[in-house]
Amino acid sequence: MRLYAVVAAGGFRRYATYRMATAAGVFTNTVFGFIMAYTYTALWDERPQLGGYDLSQALTYVWLGQALLMTCAMMGGGFEDELMERIRTGDIAIDLYRPADLQMWWLSGDLGRAAFHLMGRGIVPMALGALAFDLALPSSPLTWLAFLVSVALGVVVSFAVRFLVALSAFWLMDGAGVMQICWLAGLFFSGMLLPLNLFPGTLGEVARALPWSSLLQVPADVFLGKRTGWGLVQAYAFQGGWALALLAAGRALQTAATRRVVVQGG
């Protein structure tokens, strides 16, 4: 366990190194937050209470999206390109040789990254958004705590999906196509572009049942107080269930893949 804590701390420090990039990212998140906040304002002006949100809740949703975009890696990123490259070049053999579990190793690093992104890329855009717009921030510290738990579960689901994507490189060698599909699905089905509550009919039902809704829609609903009591337990069960299922799939794929690895050379 100590080993994985060290790896997580390393993941945190690695992303904390690039301060200029973090500042630039915060700037971009804020710009997009403003643009989306204005479009949502127009939408909710036409149809108040759309999707069960009032205007300030909808605006809060926008800024939560910007704050969690990097944390939950909705547009991909983090580790999968690196892991794919290691698989392609054969460096993965060294990783498999290490006295650490491959999946746990990358999960720890990604959790460290997510923790940094939540602080470095999440807090400032959210604070700026709260200054410029009237946001529905929870008054109870318990809601904040419940939200953080939900975000953590979201990060694990996001990791589990991206780990599966990365392992596809064992068979495909070049995973750019799979990565692009995963990136698209993450952006659309997390609710980043539009809350999933607004998706019509069957599309909405499917979108809300897919794992990506754990990345933004579920944490946002917890934050907005739409999930309390039994509803909160259900939300956690949904996220935790997907996390476990996808991690187990990753583990099965990892076992199958390691049987395939042939290390070249002496």
Binding site: I35, Y38, L43, E46
Partner: protein, 271 residues
């Protein structure tokens, strides 16, 4: 001056041609990435369609009018992204020192950086923009006059030039702030997202900012509102609709200036 421009364009053509040949070596992969590029940009418009499943108008604009704005901005941005999109990578080149290789070659550095990894897959974005634009034109009942017809190609090309100038200016900024390539994204991608919606949605100060400071409004808002026969934001005069080529020329000139200052101040990290 004209000679330098010509040799730059020629070098750009040669390098881009080389990258196209290299892309075409894997045709299946090329087709897939074009489709991927098309799909990525389509999600923006699907979002707008989903919004319009709940409302009939957004900020007083119908779906057709927003498609017109969206298509104009998307096409202009797609063209700029195709021609100048690689400027995004300058920060990385400064960081890992590969920019030095470009400096010793007898070819303008701007042409080399811009044509580097020329990605023909970006045609996907242009196609998507044009399709949405075409949809807008078809469903709208525009009163076409010769002036309005003339304004459409003028708008798309000037818009592409304005976005290209932003790419170059952003790259010049990266000489100084190597890791800050994301700042550029907020003006290029962010600008494109902003222009997809009508100006009535946004706060007056924001509209002022993108008219007078970073002249994004000239990409599509001002010329498109003239074609659509819509009132102007901020009580601006109508003749501004014909100004985009002038604005684009000024932007390109300023961007070239910034690029020169950036390149001159570049100090290699050495070994």
């Amino acid at each position: 001056m004209a000679d330098a421009l010509l040799s730059g364009l020629r070098a750009y053509g040669l390098i881009a041609g080389m990258w196209i040949r290299s892309t075409m070596a894997y045709r299946a992969s090329f087709v897939m990435t074009v489709l991927g590029n098309f799909a990525v940009t389509s999600f923006d418009f699907i979002t707008i369609l989903l919004m319009f499943s709940h409302v009939d108008a957004l900020g007083g604009y119908t779906l057709g009018e927003i498609a017109f704005l969206y298509g104009a901005s998307g096409t202009a941005f797609g063209l700029a992204d195709l021609v100048m999109g690689s400027m995004n990578r300058l920060g990385r080149r400064v960081r890992d020192g590969t920019l030095d290789t470009l400096l010793v070659r007898p070819v303008p550095v701007l042409a080399q950086v811009a044509a580097d990894q020329f990605a023909l897959r970006r045609l996907g974005r242009i196609t998507q923009g044009l399709l949405v634009f075409g949809y807008g034109v078809l469903v709208l009942d525009i009163e076409w006059t010769p002036l309005r017809v003339m304004l459409v190609p003028l708008m798309l090309l000037s818009g592409a030039a304005i976005f290209s100038a932003l790419y170059v200016a952003g790259a010049a900024f990266q000489f100084w702030a190597q890791d800050a390539s994301e700042v550029q994204n907020s003006f290029t991608y962010g600008g494109n997202t902003l222009l997809q919606y009508p100006p009535t949605l946004f706060a007056k100060d924001l509209v002022r900012g993108v008219t007078f400071v970073v002249p994004l409004a000239f990409v599509n808002w001002l010329p498109a509102l003239y074609v659509l026969g819509r009132p102007y934001p901020l009580d601006l005069p109508q003749w501004l609709a014909f100004l985009p080529p002038v604005v684009a020329a000024v932007c390109c000139w300023l961007a070239a200036l910034a690029w020169r200052v950036g390149l001159r101040s570049y100090r290699s990290t050495g070994s």
